[in-house]
């Protein structure tokens, strides 16, 4: 099954290259070098204990347009080689699609990427593409998704339909990797609830602008992108760090969601909410809602300071895919220095209102030259306690990451 997908991708890739040779292709993209430094030894002896973990990533972009821009082929391969986690060394086709722009409609066929959402602390409703979790814990990096996507604009908003013929497995860190759950996830051998990866998924979306507000309503029906993680009893063998795994279990879901963003004076209001059935025992609801208030030109400079506050609720039960965001509060500050090198700094902390465990994130970036950029990133796990793990899921899913605080410097070269 997987082979068929890979083979199709290779054939399509060769076809793209062939057409590329025949005419002018626009080439761009970026490569980067990460130095990630873990400040503590890992929680488990099987994990790699290197302090400094270099990693390289390359993502070229090839585009070709014809029919005065009405037709476009985009090809974006991706590859990372990581020194510390073999599952983080991975390759993907982020995009390989043909886009046709009509007068009031457009059609995209091939591997693509779609983003739905409005909030900062969690990408709750964004369900089209699978999360590339080993790339970034925050779920922002996505795997390429095969699709046929039709968009039609009317005076009553934009209508989108998606046919998603193939399912992509979520990536997870290896046993020896950092930033993993208490037991490693066996991402090579998932279970499906009576279907396979070629089970199609469908989605529909309507979005429209009403004055200061943008509103979207979406429905997704198909393979849920989040797996529940199961410990399969191996005949009395107790869970242990050397052999035990969590097996991903994918189910069919229905998810209906709404997303709203609005700009009123200095306030940006953001909401994502969904209701989902098919995972866990009951249909559940989840919400992320909040605001960003911006102070412009603080301290008599050109610097803007945004203050972000979001509340996160998720009503799923224990048998559904785990999330740390059941009842959490996110507070963040964004600084845009508005200078020539475009210096930015974002810090944020998501705290669990029940356990007091929190994830603190820092992101800073600055352009070095026309084609170079430097970024600093840090993630800290605060007040995450060790679990007394016996069977099934851990109480706090972050417990495996409690010693995985890191600081990372990233140097990016664009071409």
């Amino acid at each position: 099954m997987r082979f068929r997908y890979v083979a199709n991708c290779i054939i399509a890739t060769l076809a793209t290259f062939f057409s590329a040779v025949l005419s002018a292709v626009e080439i761009s993209g970026h490569g980067l070098l990460d130095f990630r430094l873990y400040t503590q030894s890992p929680s488990y002896a099987v994990q790699n204990d290197n302090t400094l973990n270099p990693s390289i990533m390359l993502q070229p972009e090839f585009r070709r347009e014809w029919n005065s821009g009405s037709d476009r082929i985009t090809f974006i391969p991706f590859g990372r080689v990581d020194s510390q986690d073999k599952n983080r060394t991975h390759f993907d086709i982020r995009e390989l699609n043909w886009l046709h722009l009509g007068r009031n409609w457009d059609l995209r066929v091939g591997v693509g990427k779609i983003f739905w959402g409005a909030t900062e602390s969690r990408h709750l409703i964004d369900v089209i593409n699978q999360v590339d979790l080993v790339e970034n814990l925050n779920g922002q990096e996505k795997l390429g998704q095969p699709m046929v996507n039709l968009n039609y604009s009317t005076d009553y908003g934009n209508f989108s339909l998606f046919y998603l013929p193939y399912f992509r497995d979520r990536t997870f860190p290896a046993r020896s990797g950092r930033l993993r759950f208490e037991l490693p996830v066996d991402s090579k051998d998932p279970l499906f609830d009576g279907f396979d990866r070629w089970h199609p998924s469908f989605a529909g979306r309507w979005n429209h602008t009403f004055g200061l507000w943008d509103i979207g309503l979406s429905h997704f029906w198909g393979v849920g992108r989040e797996p529940s993680l199961r410990f399969l009893d191996e005949g009395g063998v107790l869970p242990n760090q050397n052999t035990s795994v969590l097996t991903p279990f994918y189910e069919l879901i229905h998810q209906t969601s709404i997303d709203i963003q609005g700009a009123v004076d200095n306030w940006l209001w953001k909401l994502e909410a969904l209701t989902r059935s098919g995972q866990g025992e009951n249909r559940f609801a989840a919400v992320v809602a909040g605001f960003e208030y911006t102070f412009y030109g603080v301290l008599n400079s050109g610097t803007d300071m945004g203050v972000m506050l979001e509340y996160l609720y998720d009503g799923r039960d224990r048998t559904a895919p785990p999330t740390p965001f059941n009842n959490d509060l996110f507070f963040g500050i964004r600084l845009n220095f508005n200078d020539a090198p475009d210096t930015q700094l974002v810090v944020g902390n998501t705290i669990d209102l029940e356990t007091r465990a929190s994830i603190f994130r820092l992101n800073a970036s600055r352009r070095l030259q026309e084609k170079w950029k430097i970024e600093a990133e840090s993630t800290l796990f605060l007040n995450v306690t060790a679990n007394d793990f016996t069977r099934g899921q851990s109480k706090d899913i972050l417990t495996g990451m409690r010693n995985d605080d890191y600081v990372q410097i990233r140097i990016i070269r664009f071409f």
Partner: protein, 260 residues
């Protein structure tokens, strides 16, 4: 119809120049004529080359494509798409301006495929680190200022009207602007910007005017000099194309996702 009234009004006002016309009326009449001559372009696109220079002479450049759609009875719609620096390539800003009402603005981030609403309160903030504020590059609508004719003056070789513009919209960084308008082509040659303390902040010089489709004068070069921090920004506007057949949909939030 609006245009015809404007023509009549301005012809009348200009022809009775000096008779019972207050400086405010005359200032408005001059700017109404500037506005009349700019109107009717339907849509346009051009390339913008921006060079930022700091007080030590260090330079950095930005290149972006600008598309504009004229909207009957409202402010223009505009999309700017960055080509360089490389890290912001494909980043786009969509603005639906509404004169005195708050504008709508969206930012498209191509790596995330994400469209974000952005606040338009930030009129006086710097545009991409340059000496141009957002309000300096926003579409100019007649009702966004009140006007006052100051004097006639020779600005170098150009015979000009000097008019004071006072922002009527909220959140401006300026108390006033003093604008030199070329009497021959009814286009600005120079604008002095006065900050909230009414001190001279910046000077914008317009040059290299070219006539497009026999009707529209566009400055090919704009140089903004900040007198308070010693920095300057040069903006070159090249390859103007008019009446490209753009539609409302080309300036919609959904079109942003396919832009490049």
């Amino acid at each position: 119809m609006k245009n015809i009234i404007l023509i009549i009004v301005s012809v009348l006002l200009i022809s009775i120049d000096g008779f019972a016309q207050t400086p405010e009326e005359k200032g408005y009449a001059i700017q109404a004529e500037v506005n009349r001559r700019d109107n009717g372009f339907v849509d346009s696109m051009h390339e913008a080359y921006m060079t930022l220079r700091n007080a030590r002479g260090e330079e950095s450049t930005r290149l972006f494509m600008v598309k504009t759609l004229e909207v009957e009875g409202d402010g223009d719609k505009e999309i700017g798409v960055f080509q360089s620096p490389a890290d912001v390539r494909g980043t786009a800003v969509l603005t639906h301006s509404h004169g005195l009402e708050p504008d709508d603005q969206w930012l498209y981030l191509p790596s995330l495929k994400r469209v974000k609403r952005i606040s338009t309160v930030n009129k006086s903030g710097p545009f991409v680190g340059s000496e141009f504020a957002f309000e300096d590059i926003a579409s100019w609508e007649l009702e966004k200022y009140t006007y006052k004719y100051l004097r006639d003056e020779m600005l170098g070789e150009y015979d000009t009207f000097v008019v004071e513009n006072i922002p009527a919209y909220e959140y401006s960084g300026y108390t006033r602007q003093v604008e030199w308008i070329d009497k021959t082509i009814y286009q600005p040659r120079r604008i002095d910007f006065y900050d909230r303390k009414n001190e001279l902040l910046k000077t914008l010089i317009f040059s290299d005017y070219e006539l497009h489709i026999d009707r529209f004068w566009k400055a090919g070069k704009l140089v903004m000099t900040n007198h308070q921090n010693g920095k300057s920004t040069e903006l070159l506007r090249k390859n103007y194309k008019f009446r490209n057949g753009f539609s409302d949909r080309d300036f919609s939030v959904d079109a942003l996702r396919n832009i490049r």
